[in-house]
Symmetry: D2
Subunit: 344 residues, 4 copies
């Protein structure tokens, strides 16, 4: 994380402490990797979120998904919400490459699990997307299976934000968007937990941008926004080590919309806003001799701090995705400027 | 509306024009009435929203409900979402009086519709609630059936905001909350429409209050908020004359959470936040000779202005509920101060 | 249970063993009580399901609700699905008496819990309903608060089925319906569990009735069914001692529709079909010093037997509600005949 | 349709009249095509459902999706339920080929719509799946993009049922399953409508099979079913020319579970049961100069016949998928016998 982030501008979102790197990877075991395709009209890529260091198919995590606005093509969330578990890495890419990424992820899972499709069932690949067509030749479908594998391979605790990986060609508030992250430390009783958020930002109108309460967008562009043109999407991944059930994770995922809203989003019609959350606190073994498991669960009347943490992290992650993204010139000469080029 | 509202303080939320009265009743046909119970430890009441001037059971409106946070006891929304229609006035009161209000509303509907329960089916009473127990002797269950009828009878285009009707005993951001409203004018093509919101506010922590982007709450109280104590609720009623289907109204209702969030809400665990929206543009006759109806519907790709309108209206209605509410001393000497007593 | 039940006719639904009494009360701690109002045109009443023998507000149970068809007025399910808990007895009555029953249940809870509304929050009353207007003077609103209390007071392990309690005036398949129950024993690993179902039946057309695969309805009435006339409802309460989470209980509740369908239901438009399930295996204390709980949970890949059990129990409970109900003459001379009067 | 279907065995499900071909293609404009891969251990394929004869991206149909049991990987339903429209053919294939089919479908849509991804947004590919791994070398991922295109190209009014297309390797009730279809004629007022269902069947235990009320499965195999082994899935596509809104189509889709249940399904844990429905009665133009559309809608109180039609069609389509499927020997010598080989 060599670029300057929003905190470096003196903007501190919320009241909770950040994790060590102020990153989703502050949650132990979580890693993020990118594969960036940046060549002329090709402005796209892949980002992978690895939920834990073991075999995620064999040791699933409790997970949940929430649809803020369903104008989107994310795959895998039906099963996440039925069974309450995540069993693959989460792949982010452009809208028209979901099929390719899904196939690559299945092949990756098959390679690492000889039982899938033979002695056990199939696997539920989770692939999220935003439409980077403004800057990227999205019809070219330039993401290939090796790019997906590369994003997984390169996953690490430290990773770049901004115009990288799946964020390479994304636009946010008609500025350059992309990948952003943030995290918070949560104290509940005598225990200390971490919650982190990673966003892929691709939504919003310039005039609507709010930075920590200040209507920066109206300064940048004082014209009346054309509402009908709002398109885009936002993918939000929430990771935590707090012991949360599927029902509780859904509640947490739902709160991310407040964080988005505080940066100026109005959940535009064309914006596919999808949230996937998982907890590393309990592992669900694919094979188990026990019929009845013991699960740790936080009481719902202690969950407010978690809500606060996910809202703060989401707001800050969106701002990081903007401030870390470099000005990018892409398809047909389209340009998205970095927020850095404006006074905020 | 004799009290000063938030615009009188120079605070103008958003960019859209308000309706004539900046009120839910700017939507033609909509009326609001209150019955206020304010006597010592009794700080409660009833508010009625009348959706149109005709017989609402015979001429139903297309409607939808959305649960932001389901720690609430609102009745009637299962049927609203199955059939997509509203067939009674909407009654707001305190949590423990839902049963009484429901019974009163049923009796009111029976009186005006001799066919219900004899030659046709039953009726779906819609009653919403927040817990006013901090200021009100809620265990006393002081709301009686005549108070519900009185709130319906007194419904009018002009109505008070703040600590009146169902809002008499409510607390918002640990200040005095209650009833607030706001509206917006929407231009779509050559047509002009109106959307209005009424809120019953009873949520939030003082330190979290945001007024048009300014963190007023931290000025009022700079201590660290105790997250676990956040309780309360918010009821949001959305009315419009835009021709929206049930599916579209649900989308519109969902966006209110952005408006709440911009005033500082984090959708606390204990806060039952429920939204009910209806459109006056199409009427669904209970009895009809035609099997197939013709319904007007706005295209989804024109809906962004509606989203913006509902978000702005919700944010402003919450602020109106605060600024219009007088400081109130209630049960056991509990006091909630008016936002007016602080510099904002 | 002195009346003859469907098994006494040699009809054994499914392949699993029944519990001791083939009743929802085979689940340890569950009790059922009735208050029957049967006087001329008054054919209605109340049924109470007591989830366990302790203080249910202080020791909540994990619960879930599922809406099969939402043309209904059941209260309390929003909160059940948000928090995943049940904190009151479940009351069943006629549609227009939900308000009264709700008020009575709140008063009952207040009486037994001095903290509600003073030092802790409010309470979520769960009241379910069907429309008994064909046989009952439902407009008369004859259920009073004392009837609700009487149903709770009279709750016991043994209870009557058929035209009793809330079932007094109900119609099922245009025959006499009402209360029915059934249960199944479930073996998972070395453990033995019980699942029981109680239904309040008030749906269906005579010609559609199926008894264990045999189209009995077409024998009873060979005319073409008038589809448009199908009205009614069905309330289904599922109790079990299997350790199930909210998410899993929802899955179980969903399967009841298969049981209904096997008796001939097509989930008619006008039929409010609502399912509430709870598990007695984990208790959630309202007050607790621990932030993190340990919860027992069955693995989802062991749940198929539970699905089978709930389907068999629902099918058999519906048939019991029919065969146990005596021919009833009610409002305006309307008559519903007992299934007993037909050869099956 | 040269094979004998279930009606040829004297088994007539329900009371409504069938359409001309008793097929989903009785709905005007709907076509179905297959591409079958049948070579040794390769027992798989693709089936395409074409919703109407025009450009489906430019003239979308009102649609809805319902998840009966979400252990499945179908793509596209988030957007169907947000916007209420279908804008591509529906592709059915095996679970691990969803990515490939999705990519192929996107390429097909791009080829036919030069605007996608350039001057307008992206496209929402709808791909459904079941796991044919028992008979098919599913790990081999033998479905290629050309097979998807071939299934679209070959779409016609007349098409085969049983072990063809996506159904080539599917198992149902541990017998040979696959593709089945059926339709019903619906009279509402003076109008005549058609509703058709296509199923891809891959669920159930042999002992549970019910044929028109007769427990055929217990005759075929009288052993106790091992519940834990129930895996599989069922995809159900519903087409109709009745003017139904998204909300109403969801209600219709929901009723298919009754049809499944009457053939013996208990919605097993591992069975991804997904329903997609669309109506050809209203077309939603992608580009339109009008902001407000006029939509035809059937009244909900006339919908019962539609519910009956979809239940009957689903039950019969499942039986057709069984009786039309030939005994198949596949991977590792696994065999699924045809229902034809048993006395029913």
């Amino acid at each position: 994380m060599t670029k300057n982030r929003i905190r470096d501008y003196g903007i501190n979102i919320g009241i909770l402490k950040t994790g060590k790197n102020n990153s989703i990877t502050d949650v132990k075991g979580v890693k993020v990797g990118h594969c960036t395709l940046n060549d002329g009209d090709i402005k796209t890529g892949v980002t992978a979120v690895i939920p834990h260091e073991g075999n995620i198919f064999r040791e699933k995590l409790i997970a949940a998904a929430h649809v803020i606005n369903g104008f989107g093509k994310t795959t895998g969330i039906i099963q996440i919400n039925e069974l309450g578990t995540l069993e693959t890495p989460i792949i982010l890419t452009n809208t028209l490459s979901v099929g390719c990424a899904s196939e690559a992820l299945v092949e990756y899972m098959l390679k690492n699990n000889a039982d899938i499709g033979v002695t056990t069932g199939t696997v539920n690949p989770v692939v999220c997307e935003c439409n980077d067509g403004y800057l990227n030749d999205i019809r070219g479908m330039h993401v290939k299976k090796e790019h997906v594998l590369e994003s997984i391979r390169s996953a690490d605790v430290l990773f770049e934000e901004g115009a990288v990986g799946a964020g390479t060609g994304m636009s946010c508030y008609e500025l350059k968007g992309g990948i952003g992250t943030a995290s918070r430390i949560i104290e509940i009783g005598n225990n200390t937990y971490t919650l982190g958020v990673l966003v892929l930002t691709n939504f919003g109108l310039k005039q609507d941008l709010i930075v920590d309460g200040t209507k920066v967008g109206r300064t940048i562009d004082s014209s009346i926004p054309k509402n009908e043109s709002e398109k885009g999407s936002c993918i939000i991944i929430v990771a935590t080590d707090i012991p949360l059930l599927h029902r509780q994770l859904r509640r947490v995922c739902k709160r991310t919309s407040i964080g988005l809203g505080r940066t100026g989003s109005f959940m535009g019609n064309g914006s596919g806003e999808i949230v996937i959350g998982f907890s590393t606190a309990n592992k669900i073994n694919h094979y188990d001799s026990e019929d009845v498991m013991n699960i740790k669960v936080i009481r719902d009347d202690k969950i407010n701090t978690v809500f606060r943490a996910v809202i703060e992290s989401t707001e800050e992650a969106v701002l990081n995705s903007l401030i870390c993204a470099e000005t990018t010139k892409g398809r047909d000469g389209h340009v998205r400027y970095s927020l850095k080029e404006y006074k905020i």
